[in-house]
């Protein structure tokens, strides 16, 4: 018998030979020192290549936790709308998440339906993710008119319940024992504030995913109710499927945060929360929309809804990269400033109430994680705390 080929020896190493082939191969190897030497060399190379290539495999934390999420995204490619020519690009790079525009629209709903006492951090994490944050003053007074707020809130809630399909519910936040457990559950590196006398309470908010189809008639009906029948979203928005996936979020609390630790709200209102610090860490959610949508155009309508003039909204919407920017609409008169934090640019927002203590929110995005730090004091206090992050 002639000597064995490299292919046969390689297949033998992988146990891919048939039984007769294997027998023949073993018989030859028993009597051929040259083939044995080659076989060992091939096996050595194969093992080494296998080890090297194995480093490329995704770790558990790098793998989607639930295949139903990509399935929901796949469904969001609207397979039943074959007339849309670029629909197969729905989740490609050409279709980058349109955070900004969505944020502008979502802000309206959130402003109408959420209690005003909720923090900016909570608002942001409820709706978006971005690579950077910018702020713009808006006048929400007209929409916050108590006379129509409740009615509009119900209309929006009804619209959401009719059109949105929730594929993953977050469930109750889970309290964890340690940062290591938080990292394991959340799937990303959890950072903690330094120089704190007590360990924080850490909670994990579960993953969420939902998708829905825009019903433009109903959206315009809501705009009518809001007294803004002059505003019209582009027709291309009608029937657009929007898919949202929000990864697990880590909430960390330090100090006297009694409201979140089970005390009743009435008691808490009278207590000082001077010592309470909230730190939220959230990987960027994914929001996907069809590629044909002109997000700047949609965002301009959202901005006008927030009280901006048509000209200003048009000008502003052209200056923003809506694929990666969260535009945060702050009530007019709110003080804010751009600051250097954690090696990137962030936004410090003064949330002090009239006659109350100084409070702030500090927001920034780094390495795909949104950070929101809320506490008492001024910008120096906020930046000092942020600097201590480990």
């Amino acid at each position: 018998m002639s000597c064995l080929s490299d292919g046969i020896l390689r297949a033998r190493f992988d146990d891919q030979l048939s039984q007769p082939q294997l027998q023949e191969c073993e018989q030859h190897l028993a009597s051929c020192a040259d083939c044995r030497r080659r076989s060992e060399a091939i096996a050595h190379d194969a093992k080494r290549v296998s080890v090297v290539l194995s480093t490329l495999g995704p770790l558990p934390s790098e793998t989607p936790s639930d295949d139903k999420i990509p399935w929901a995204r796949f469904q969001a490619r609207t397979p039943e709308r074959p007339s849309v020519p670029l629909v197969n690009e729905l989740l490609s790079r050409r279709l980058l998440p349109a955070w900004g525009a969505l944020a502008a629209v979502c802000l309206i709903g959130i402003t109408l339906t959420f209690a005003p006492a909720r923090s900016w951090a909570q608002r942001i994490l409820a709706m978006l993710r971005v690579q950077k944050i910018t702020v713009v003053p808006m006048d929400w007074n007209a929409l916050n008119n108590p006379a129509n707020r409740d009615r509009l809130g119900k209309s929006i809630a009804q619209l959401v319940s009719d059109e949105v399909v929730v594929t993953i519910k977050p469930g109750q936040p889970q309290v964890v024992e340690s940062p290591a457990q938080a990292e394991e559950l959340a799937g990303f590196k959890v950072r903690l504030l330094g120089n704190q006398s007590e360990p924080p309470e850490i909670r994990i908010v579960g993953e969420q995913a939902f998708h829905g189809t825009v019903n433009l008639d109903r959206v315009h009906a809501i705009l009518d109710e809001a007294g803004r029948s002059d505003l019209q979203f582009p027709a291309s928005l009608d029937g657009a499927t929007i898919a949202v996936h929000i990864p697990k979020i880590v909430l960390t609390q330090y100090g006297n945060c009694s409201r979140h630790r089970g005390e009743n709200k009435a008691d808490v209102e009278t207590k000082s929360e001077t010592g309470c610090i909230n730190l939220v860490q959230a990987p960027s959610p994914t929001v996907s929309v069809p590629p044909e949508l002109n997000m700047a155009q949609i965002a301009a309508v959202g901005l006008r809804l927030g009280g901006m003039s048509a000209e200003a909204a048009q000008r502003f919407s052209q200056t923003v990269d809506w694929t990666s920017t969260l535009v945060l609409g702050l009530p007019q008169g709110t003080s804010y400033q751009t600051v250097d934090v954690d090696g990137v640019q962030g936004t410090w927002i003064d949330q002090s109430r009239r006659g109350g203590r100084s409070r702030y929110s500090l927001l920034w995005v780094k390495n795909g994680i949104i950070y929101a730090l809320a506490g008492s004091g001024g910008s120096t206090d906020a930046l000092t705390l942020a600097q201590s992050l480990k």
Partner: protein
């Protein structure tokens, strides 16, 4: 890993695209197919791209191609070969384009896919560097060499490799052996022999 498109595109002629009615009729079959293959496709594409988001995009793209094409079955009536050939083609194309872009920009390879790994910062840096070195070598190989190495590393059998890459089953061992030898040679050329030991 084997699967067929039975029930998935029944009644459709060649060249015909899926209609809405077809879509509804076969949605549940395709969901099953999707859930069976998606994770493996993602894993394969993550190995190639090193970027979780990109791997998800490409896996979704492959599934979309599968969904839209009425005739995908291989000679033995199985889809796997087409699926993994398409995925590895897309992945290798992306890898090579990325390598060209990084060479052009003179930038070190950056692996955003490593975000979120629970380990020390040093571990993450080392893992990222190692992965970048391996991907740089893969990008320098002929596409079929990179494909066969990645697909084998992803767990495909010789028969599945033959189906995916269009080789004769009896040739897979030879092709694999050649690809490994070339990978070894390029790795040593690019990163030195110390790295290999």
């Amino acid at each position: 890993m084997s699967s067929t498109l039975e029930g998935l595109r029944c009644g459709m002629s060649e060249g015909e695209e899926r209609s809405p009615a077809d879509s509804r009729r076969t949605e549940s079959s395709f969901e099953k197919f999707f859930l069976t293959h998606y994770r493996h496709l993602f894993s394969l594409l993550f190995r190639i791209t090193g970027d979780r988001t990109r791997a998800e995009e490409l896996a979704n793209e492959v599934m979309w191609k599968a969904y839209r094409q009425p005739k995908l079955t291989g000679a033995d009536g199985k889809l796997d070969g087409w699926l993994y050939r398409t995925a590895s083609n897309l992945g290798i194309e992306d890898l090579r384009a990325n390598a060209r872009r990084q060479r052009h920009q003179g930038a070190a390879a950056h692996d955003s896919g490593n975000a979120g790994v629970s380990s020390t910062p040093l571990d993450e840096v080392l893992r990222t560097e190692k992965r970048d070195r391996v991907r740089a070598v893969l990008a320098s190989l002929k596409p079929w060499q990179a494909q066969i190495l990645i697909l084998r590393s992803s767990g495909l059998s010789y028969k599945e490799l033959a189906d995916a890459l269009g080789f004769k089953a009896a040739s897979v061992g030879t092709m694999l052996s050649r690809a490994e030898a070339q990978f070894h040679k390029c790795y040593v050329q690019m990163h030195g022999s110390e790295e290999w030991s």
